[in-house]
């Protein structure tokens, strides 16, 4: 069964933070008796600790964390290069759509790349799709130049 934690992750940053939290928790298991309780109460985000406590109620907590860490390794990442830094509501909208239509575990890795000019460059599981404005403009410019040179009667450089 997929943990609720995985479905709630939006971005790669969320994924990395969760990994860090699980690391802290796993370490605290083998320290003093109260260390685990202190960590889950103070060092972990509330919504994460709620889900953790709920899902690990009747099972071995160390096994639960180990399985969760393994599942995190398998999380598919969609990399998106854009020329602006998106707002959290924008990310929320995109992520909801992707989770609903592609895979509920998917997270987005947003990279800022101003050279794209507009649009987005996507890569997912080794597949690459360039929907950037830069590509469109480059293609258009190539056509314009070639058409200009090939046209009879036009003297280039005069």
């Amino acid at each position: 069964m997929v943990s609720q934690l995985l479905t709630k992750l939006r971005t790669k940053d969320d994924l990395d933070i969760l990994r860090g939290e699980l690391y802290l928790l796993e370490n605290s298991l083998y320290q003093t008796t109260n260390k685990y309780d202190n960590t889950i109460r103070n060092d972990i985000r509330n919504w994460v600790s709620d889900i953790l406590l709920q899902e690990s109620k009747d099972i071995d907590i160390s096994k639960y964390i180990k399985d969760l860490k393994n599942d995190l390794q398998e999380i598919p990442v969609l990399t998106a290069s854009m020329n602006f830094e998106p707002s959290s509501s924008f990310v929320e909208t995109v992520s909801t759509w992707i989770k609903g239509n592609v895979d509920e575990r998917i997270v987005i890795d947003i990279l800022l790349n101003t050279s794209t000019l507009g649009g987005v460059q996507l890569s997912y599981r080794g597949k690459y799709l360039d929907l950037s404005l830069r590509k469109r403009i480059s293609a258009e410019l190539e056509n314009v130049t070639l058409t200009g040179i090939n046209k009879p009667g036009i003297n280039v450089g005069t």
Partner: protein
């Protein structure tokens, strides 16, 4: 738009570097990557797919650039191709400089991994290959299209022999391709200087990789050289290709395989090391070439890989592998070298499997006689170690043996024409200069060499006599009859 982005858009696939292990890079993504496909890194570096598994693609890096974890990788959809053309003559090229993705009309592109031609495209070896080294030409003859291993300890004049044979062949018009595999830069510079000094640059192509090059590039060097050889073969030219040396090549491939986590076999070499070299050497041979208007011709790739051995150990893994896949070997004996013999080729431990079939009946007879005599001479020398008292006949035989050994003494870069070697041997065999000792004979032979090289008429007449002699005995008789004339001519030389 740069090349990297073009490839990304063309193939629609991307990968990211996950792990770097010296010259091997592991990357995820690239779901459609194929074996031996060329990939391009974000920073312009080039690599080749070495192996693929479910999650990762193993890539050999072919350039020296700095690649870090997270770098993007794009497929090109192409296997490795190189630019080939006559512009390569006289230059020292690195395999990296020749890799190309573009198609031009002036220069031909070729894939470096090609399947060896089948038996329907091969022809018997029927033309002799002159090396310019008397002991090889007379006792261990080679043929055009033969694959002959040059094997010996380090610093036993193996490369000198290769230079001599390259010079001889280049002067005869053969295209020579020299692959320097992980050689010192100074060695390659010296080779290039030799080529320029001897004015044979228009026939020589040098493909060089150096020890500080990426292992992947060193691994490609002999394949690039062989691809060039195939290009000129297909143009109907005879090609002579040398790999200096394949033991170094095997070591670099072992490094790559171990880094890639392949299971190590004997001496830690990977299991496919035999396949690696055999598929390379199988591309040499004598071939039927389809010319224009349905005409067929013949063109050969004569291949001489070099193998280095340790303390004369014939049983090394790579050495025995190479012996198994070639048509013989020339053994450069460390003991002979220490005794001052030049070239230090041991004819009794050397083998030529197909060269004899390319000889004329006269030369075959001469070679057989010479070999059998030298074997008897060696036996007699061993017998002498017991302090035995020898008959007059045996003493004569020993003296003649010493003199014939003297014929084979040859300075480093002084190729000797086939006919001169035959002339020298026949004159000694016919009993010229019987009263002279070995040193005196060497002086006379030097005079004979000068006469042969400087006097065109003498050269032509000698060659005619050799050409028109039906048998060795006939040739010896002809030499006996013209002894006084030759001696007189030699006496005029100071």
């Amino acid at each position: 738009m740069d090349t990297f982005e073009q490839f990304l858009n063309t193939t629609g696939e991307i990968g990211f570097v996950k792990r770097i292990s010296s010259s091997i890079i592991f990357c995820d993504g690239l779901p459609g990557a194929k074996l031996s496909e060329v990939v391009v890194f974000e920073n312009g570096e080039v690599g080749q797919v070495f192996s693929t598994d479910r999650n990762l693609v193993e890539i050999i890096v072919l350039s020296k650039g700095y690649i870090k974890v997270g770098t993007k990788v794009a497929r090109t959809g192409q296997t490795l191709k190189i630019n080939i053309g006559s512009h390569l003559f006289g230059s020292v090229m690195s395999p990296k400089d020749m890799i190309t993705f573009e198609k031009t009309n002036e220069i031909e592109n070729r894939i470096i991994e090609s399947e060896p031609p089948g038996i329907d495209r091969r022809k018997n070896i029927n033309r002799s290959f002159e090396t310019g080294v008397a002991i090889v030409d007379l006792m261990l003859p080679l043929g055009m299209g033969q694959r002959e291993l040059v094997i010996g300890d380090r610093k036993t004049n193996k490369t000198q022999f290769i230079l001599q044979s390259i010079l001889t062949q280049a002067q005869k018009g053969t295209v020579c391709v020299y692959a320097a595999i992980a050689k010192k830069r100074t060695d390659v510079i010296l080779f290039n200087k030799f080529v320029k000094d001897k004015n044979i640059a228009d026939k020589i192509i040098t493909i060089a990789s150096y020890p500080d090059d990426p292992s992947g590039l060193i691994y490609l060097t002999p394949y690039v050289a062989m691809t060039i050889a195939e290009y000129f073969r297909d143009k109907g030219q005879d090609v002579y290709v040398t790999f200096d040396d394949l033991t170094a090549h095997a070591k670099y491939y072992r490094e790559i395989s171990l880094l890639a986590g392949r299971f190590p076999g004997r001496n830690s070499y990977p299991g496919d090391i035999f396949y690696l070299h055999s598929r390379l050497l199988e591309r040499a041979g004598n071939f039927i070439i389809q010319g224009a208007k349905g005409m067929t011709g013949e063109a050969s790739i004569t291949c001489m890989p070099i193998a280095e051995m340790v303390m004369g150990d014939f049983s090394g893994y790579i050495q025995t592998n190479l012996m198994a896949m070639t048509d013989g070997h020339l053994y450069f004996d460390r003991d002979y070298f220490n005794q001052g013999k030049r070239p230090p080729i041991n004819p009794f431990l050397s083998v030529t499997r197909v060269g004899r079939q390319a000889q004329t009946p006269l030369l075959r007879e001469l070679s057989r006689k010479l070999t059998s005599f030298m074997v008897s001479y060696e036996k007699m020398k061993e017998f002498m170690h017991f302090g035995a008292e020898l008959s007059e006949e045996s003493q004569k035989m020993l003296l003649l043996g010493d003199k014939i050994s003297g014929i084979f003494e040859q300075a480093s870069i002084s190729p000797r024409p086939y006919s001169l070697s035959i002339l020298m041997f026949t004159t000694v065999w016919a009993g010229y200069w019987q009263e002279k000792d070995v040193n005196g004979l060497k002086l006379e032979l030097r005079k004979l060499t000068n006469l042969f090289m400087s006097n065109e008429q003498f050269r032509k007449e000698s060659e005619n006599v050799i050409l028109n002699s039906p048998s060795f005995n006939h040739l010896v008789d002809s030499m006996k009859s013209s002894q006084s004339n030759i001696i007189q001519l030699l006496a005029e030389i100071k």
